[in-house]
């Protein structure tokens, strides 16, 4: 049994302009100690999902249906005090902007100890000691003195570290990080990510990393879920996602990463924008922007299926993509190619230094991998 199992989560917001379906039948799992990435553009529903896990959705939002099973128990059916027990204690969350996440009128140390004192049976002194140790572990120098400092006396990177310390203070089993480095400089970002990875390893904490930055995902995560318009459109291991993307949206995302020295004069983008969640397109939500879309795509909403077998994998942790190309309903084919220069770690043992090419499926075909063009390294 996985640590976290989300099944068919539906979250809606009842606003003046209409009903926004922020999350539409989302399912995924996270196993113990795993680093799970959630990637997608703004508006895809990533943050809403995270907030739902801790039942922090407030009106006008409502968790309509679905189950969130954490260690076997459905979080959505817990009482107020039970869920409060889970928050901070077993599942912790860190947010994008550390500065606003910290209360400006209390010391940083106090805010960390608060969590400890609340969830664990520590005395004040014990809680303080633990907090100081945590501050030290996240890499804040002179932790003992800094304990009594206020949030505005910390730099941006330090603030985020403090927030991480706060989140890890009660040894949670799952840490949800919502765009933890988006607001930071690139150099600081690298350090924070590294810290996050180390701490996750050390404390054996699973991490759900939410971001729109593909580079961060590649750096940190084991498995990834790509979200679009409130649904999961692809789930894969990080290697598979990058080297063998199956869903056109993922392909588009990969293609839109700018590269130095490429031949094209313009940056490639995915045309159009994320649809208005009040008024989703019929059928596959992505079809208006998909170069391979056909009529069928506007009619039927594709389930999340295994690209090889076509079987529904929505509720499992298996590889899946939500495209009609894999259910066999697509007349044409997904006409893209993924060219990999240099090493492909998946192909270790097949001789390094070869150029490899993998091509997208042509309706009904199995993937082909051509090897050895005898290229240079």
């Amino acid at each position: 049994m996985a640590l976290l199992e989300v099944e068919d989560l539906v979250v809606r917001f009842y606003t003046e302009e209409g009903v926004v379906t922020a999350v539409d039948g989302l399912s995924f799992e996270i196993t113990r100690g795993e680093k799970f990435g959630v990637v997608g553009e703004s508006g895809a529903g990533k943050s809403v999902t995270a907030m739902s896990l801790l039942r922090l959705i407030e009106s006008p939002g409502r968790i309509e249906s679905g189950e969130i099973r954490f260690k076997g128990k459905n979080l959505l059916e817990m009482t107020e005090s039970e869920i409060r027990n889970v928050r901070g204690n077993e599942i912790a969350m860190i947010f994008q902007d550390a500065q606003t996440a910290l209360n400006p009128v209390y010391t940083v140390g106090d805010q960390i100890s608060e969590s400890i004192r609340h969830h664990m049976d520590f005395t004040d002194r014990e809680a303080k000691n633990r907090a100081v140790r945590l501050l030290d572990e996240v890499g804040i120098p002179e932790a003992e003195e800094r304990y009594d400092d206020y949030p505005h006396q910390f730099s941006g990177g330090m603030q985020q570290r403090a927030v991480i310390a706060m989140a890890l203070s009660c040894d949670p089993d799952l840490l949800i990080a919502d765009e933890p480095t988006t607001a930071l400089d690139v150099t600081i970002e690298a350090k924070i990510l590294e810290q996050l990875e180390d701490l996750a390893e050390e404390f054996d904490t699973a991490v759900q990393l939410i971001t729109h930055d593909l580079g961060v995902i590649a750096e940190v995560c084991d498995r990834v879920m790509v979200m679009y318009a409130g649904k999961a459109v692809e789930k894969a291991s990080v290697e598979d996602l990058y080297y063998d993307p199956k869903h056109p949206y993922t392909v588009g995302l990969m293609g839109s990463i700018p590269r130095v020295g490429g031949d094209s004069a313009r940056l490639q983008t995915i045309p159009g924008r994320m649809p208005d969640l009040i008024d989703l397109p019929s059928g596959c939500s992505f079809h208006p922007r998909c170069p391979y879309a056909e009529e069928a795509c506007a009619r039927t909403e594709p389930p999340l299926v295994d690209p090889e077998t076509g079987g529904n994998v929505a509720a499992t942790g298996e590889r899946g993509a939500a495209c009609l190309a894999y259910t066999g309903d697509l007349a044409g084919s997904l006409d893209y190619e993924v060219e990999v220069r240099g090493d492909d770690p998946r192909a270790e043992g097949e001789g390094s230094g070869d150029n490899l090419r993998t091509e997208g499926r042509r309706g009904g075909d199995k993937p082909r991998t051509e090897g050895g063009r005898g290229g240079e390294r």
Partner: protein, 405 residues
């Protein structure tokens, strides 16, 4: 995990296919639609949906109408001329805001009408040229003249008659201690309160916004000096200052206006200065200046419209404060001639009779109706103000989280 990852290139994902497709793709998430509807239109929509605010608006509109039609209005020709030319000048200036460059005709119109207004005003006072009086508004809603002592013509009418005694249909509010019809007095009284409220707030906000806008924009010494002056005004209790001013200037409409404008402009100065300080640092201002816009243009075209929200809210809430203030002066018997049908002033007699202690008869109708009139108007105005606050405020509210991922 290998740290040496391959470099990935995607080929074959062609966005052109999508762009050239004939099937109308989904409009980008309402981007064009939202931009078209102006901030004010949206605010008005929100306001309309606010029930209590709409009720307030209806009441205010109703009372304003009553104020206009309570008694006939006669104006001299010169006054009419002044008002008309000022209105034309104002209207043209507002129009010029909507056009990029004011044409010479427009400018001539503005300055011409303003000059005409000035000319007429001067002519009025020096040679005393006013022209004949015209009855601009002939309707009289008040059944009796508010000043007439009823018992002079009609011996059956006495002083202090309750509504029941005087006849509910003839005198629904009874008569006061001088024998005048309360209903007419209350209706006529609306003129004082309603008009002074709006006039004071308009003038005070214009002065205050200009003052605070300049202070906030130029900063440093200018700001310091100007805001110290604001602090000085703030140091006085408002009613106290009003009392002193009326004490000096005597009673009368414009004297009362001055009495409340002088303490009143300060809050707007402070508000707008705060907003200007915030807005000044925002990027679009830097952009405008980088494009070479003149200071005055930057202030009025960019900063003020964005900072105006709290001023509008404050102004609408302030109307009520001024009305109560004027009524307080009336209640204290200061600034009005005895017998003026002003709501607060109508309560003066009640105070005197109450001091006599238990045993004095209470003319509840003399206390109740004028006070209720004040309360109703101020309450309605405050509901409107609150409605404006909510309508403009929630603009900044976040989009449903769908917009933020």
């Amino acid at each position: 995990m290998s740290t040496e990852r391959g470099r990935i290139t995607i080929e074959g994902f062609d966005p052109e296919v999508v762009r050239e497709r004939e099937t109308p793709t989904q409009e980008p998430a309402g981007a064009t639609d939202v931009a078209v509807e102006s901030r004010w239109a949206r605010a008005w929509r929100r306001f309309r949906r606010n029930r209590s605010a709409m009720v307030g608006l209806v009441i205010v509109a109703f009372m304003a109408t009553v104020a206009v039609f309570a008694m006939p209005i006669s104006l001299t020709l010169s006054t009419i001329g002044i008002i008309l030319s000022l209105a034309v000048a104002l209207g043209l200036s507002v129009l010029s805001r909507f056009r990029r460059r004011a044409s010479t005709l427009l400018k001539a119109g503005i300055y011409g009408s303003a000059a005409l207004a000035l000319l007429l005003a001067v002519a009025r006072y020096y040679p005393g040229l006013t022209g004949p009086s015209l009855t601009v508004q002939p309707i009289q809603l008040a059944p009796y003249d508010p000043e007439t002592l009823l018992w002079i013509d009609d011996p059956s009418m006495e002083r202090d008659m309750s509504p029941r005694e005087a006849g509910l249909f003839d005198h629904p509010f009874g008569t006061d201690s001088e024998g005048r019809d309360m209903f007419s007095r209350v209706i006529a009284g609306s003129r004082w309160s309603v008009s002074i409220g709006f006039v004071v707030v308009t003038i005070a906000s214009i002065i205050g916004v200009a003052w605070g806008g300049i202070a906030g924009y130029y900063g440093s010494l200018v700001d310091e000096v100007m805001m110290r002056i604001v602090d000085v005004v703030f140091a006085f209790p408002a009613l106290l200052l009003a009392l002193v001013i009326v004490f000096q200037l005597g009673g009368g409409y414009f004297q009362l206006v001055a009495a409340f404008v002088i303490p009143g402009w300060a809050i707007y100065a402070r508000l707008i200065r705060g907003e200007v300080l915030k807005t000044k640092e925002m990027e679009f201002v830097t952009a405008a200046r980088a494009l070479g816009a003149r200071d005055r243009s930057v202030i009025f075209r960019h900063i003020v419209p964005n900072s105006i929200t709290p001023v509008v809210v404050q102004a609408s809430l302030n109307v009520g404060t001024v009305v109560i203030g004027v009524a307080a002066l009336g209640f204290l018997g200061i600034g009005f001639e005895a017998g003026t049908p002003e709501w607060g002033h109508m309560l003066t007699n009640v105070r005197e009779s109450l001091i006599r202690g238990p045993g004095a008869s209470i003319n509840w109708w003399q206390t109740f109706f004028p006070g209720a009139a004040i309360f109703t108007f101020v309450m309605a105005m405050n509901l409107v103000g609150d409605g404006i606050n909510d309508a403009l405020d929630a603009q900044e509210d976040i989009e449903p989280i769908g917009g933020g991922g």
